[in-house]
Symmetry: C2
Subunit: 446 residues, 2 copies
């Protein structure tokens, strides 16, 4: 754990590194854990980050690389020579090595692998088979397994022989001679059971293990819902392949949440990405918005005549559009959250739609009165005030339809609804907002 | 863990509950775990939810209540009589009871407490002291502690006497006769050490325990960064009060992420909240947006003359405003994420500001060329095209200033930047967008 003393080290490095000699920084780094160093690197602009990383001892580089987010990890790895990288990862667990190597260009990976022992290479290559976002991609191979007919006494003396158990070992697994998964045995039941009892009497066998091809978000939900620390992973032949531990699941939960938040704004970059990369990550979204903004403008263009005659309309029309955009984003957010938590399905979507409609009508009444009142106070035009109120209600109803349908449709086409959603829904509400307000004005004001 | 059979039960309940007899539903519920039932309740509209909950056995109600999110938990608790509630929580751990009781109105809580034994009441009252969002609010009191001079053999036989260890027990704690915290002893070191060794030789004492008043987000970051399963909590006198376990921390991480996502859209409700509550949770935000939209409109109002003369301006002005809004939201999101992950501080905020400025200029060049080109293609007006390009660049730069300063200022005043942020930044970009475009037009087009 980060002691308060080490937290100070972190502050000193981040705040004053310009005033410290390289040797002073190196001494501070030596006192910090790999995860603290990783956090310091993630909180540093690129130049400072490269400098800090270069001050690490080679044996520490691997641990720090593993703790880093993908983008920064790849950046720093790309600055190491093949020899340095091989040296850095040498002492890591095999699944940690897989985590670092899997993002390398194929050529480079082959070169690094060729420097390893045949056994290591085989195991790493096995780990590289599973896609990143599956249970297989999350698993560690550091499982301890015992046989069903062992006594607890034998199990304890076997564990004692191991010297140290792998981190986050809250249970070990029971397999038959063919390494087929039979059940699990919690460390706490081992320690509290009579040593003469037999594994198969105590093991839990009614719990289904994870499959290598399960989606990582599904794994996260299972861990969360069942308060798991670790869970076994089997392949399609029921053979025990490894286990997934809560620390990796927490990373999935954090990344998942990050993705929703960043996705909705159309950014995909680490906090201190260099300007060129940050600009590239955002320009797509801005360009999409430019195109949709022109679509909204071409709606306005249909009403040149009425705008030419009544300048007030130009002043008020952004209000209707903007209110629809906010309401649609609210509905979209509720649907996105419900989809992420797997709460929304065919049985309740209809109820949700009706609820959103009711919300938009309830809030539509309040807000249209308010907008009508303010408009009247401003321009003293009764019809104009009624028109803007009606347009607002129409646009709030359109915001519900867009906010619910757009994410569901994107999801149906296997698109991440967090990423495409908000630009599409606000385009709908912009267009409907301008259409309804200026359309009603054309009918009733000229 | 949720077996695939139980997952089917969940689907059947959610999809077809209208076609099933109450007895059939009750049988399905009997096969599900408390967390699965809680998920089913969270995925159900209010009427169906109340029905499902009423079908549970009393002894199951407490576990299910504990697994539910705060809002739904309170809803269901408010429908139970004091006797039913006392009965439902009777079998829960004390900290689980605290979790459920702490949201009750004071009167009601007193009545429930009065039905409990004096010992239980004292301990629950102690748990109720700590605010919800602190380490104290997260802690469980189910700690196992041993003395530094015990042998491992004694520790093991003590643990064996416990029968079963509390969930998520990866370590036990070492305290002196005054219950002052000395260190921790991992279960895996107990199991792998020579039974004749003494606790104080093996315990880890260089790890600082959590304090009861530490912020829960800080606790989450410490758990995440150090891959913890559990951590001791001490009071200001260094006495061991309890421990925090990863399952509760995962809930904090999820809620925290939820809060950022929902906060930015100005919604704060569970997915299937009834319409009245959902409307109330959103109307504040919509009203704020209405006010700021009128502020933006009054900016446009300053330019009635030029709008009256050149109707194209009304058509194009939403584009400049909307682009600024998207760019500002991107910057805001990056800053929010950096603040949540504690990456941003005084030492790097200046770099971040310069980076954002560089991003806005880089993207500003690309987008202003694009917007100028499309405008020219549409209206064949050279000056108009140049003006809109310049206004866009001005607004993108203003979006950086707003996107960085607004969350930092809100944070300084102890406001959640996720919640106030996006309405404020888009107001800035709307106003600057209209001002710059219409202002430039006034100067150069008439």
């Amino acid at each position: 754990m980060e002691s308060s003393k080490n937290k100070d080290n972190l502050k000193i490095i981040l705040d004053d590194s310009s005033d410290l000699s390289l040797n002073q920084i190196r001494r501070l780094l030596n006192k910090m854990s790999a995860s603290e160093i990783a956090h310091a690197l993630e909180s540093s602009p690129p130049t400072q980050r490269t400098l800090l990383f270069s001050l690490l001892k080679t044996e520490e580089e691997g641990d720090v690389l593993f703790e880093l987010g993908e983008e920064i990890q790849q950046d720093l790895v790309s600055k190491l020579s093949n020899e340095e990288l091989t040296e850095a990862v040498k002492e890591l667990e095999l699944d940690e090595i897989v985590d670092i190597l899997q993002n390398l260009p194929e050529e480079r990976m082959k070169k690094i692998l060729s420097k390893m022992s045949l056994v290591d290479r085989k195991r790493i290559e096995m780990g590289l088979i599973y896609p990143d976002n599956t249970a297989g991609g999350l698993l560690n191979t550091d499982v301890i397994s015992v046989r069903p007919n062992n006594s607890i006494e034998v199990v304890i003396s076997y564990l004692r022989d191991q010297g140290e158990l792998p981190e986050n070992t809250d249970k070990i697994f029971v397999v038959n001679d063919d390494n087929e998964y039979l059940g699990e045995l919690s460390i706490s039941s081992i320690i509290t059971s009579n040593p003469l009892r037999i594994v198969k009497e105590i093991m839990e066998s009614d719990i289904s293990p994870l499959k290598t091809d399960q989606d990582d978000k599904e794994v996260a939900i299972l861990f969360e819902r069942n308060d798991l620390i670790s869970s076994p992973v089997i392949d399609e032949n029921n053979k025990l392949i490894g286990r997934i531990t809560i620390d990796d699941v927490v990373d999935v939960i954090r990344e998942d949440a990050d993705q929703n938040l960043l996705g909705m704004a159309g950014v995909a970059e680490d906090t201190f990405a260099p300007p060129g990369r940050a600009a590239r990550s955002r320009v797509f979204w801005l360009t999409m918005n430019l195109i949709t903004a022109f679509i909204a403008s071409s709606t306005i263009n249909l009403f040149q005549d009425v705008l030419d005659k009544i300048v007030y309309l130009a002043i008020l029309m952004p209000i209707v559009a903007s209110m629809g955009g906010v309401a649609a984003t609210q509905t979209l957010t509720i649907v996105l959250r419900g989809l992420t938590l797997e709460q929304i399905n065919t049985s309740n979507i209809r109820w949700l739609f009706k609820r959103e409609l009711a919300v938009s009508i309830l809030n539509g009444i309040v807000l249209s009165l308010l907008v009508g009142f303010i408009t009247y106070a401003w321009f003293q035009e009764t019809i104009l005030s009624i028109l803007i109120s009606c347009a607002l209600i129409i646009n709030l109803i359109s915001s519900v339809i867009a906010g619910i349908l757009v994410p569901l449709i994107l999801r149906r086409f296997n698109q991440d609804p967090a990423i495409g959603g908000s630009v599409v829904v606000t385009t709908v509400t912009d267009v409907v907002g301008f259409l309804s307000f200026l359309g009603l004005a054309t009918i009733y004001l000229i």
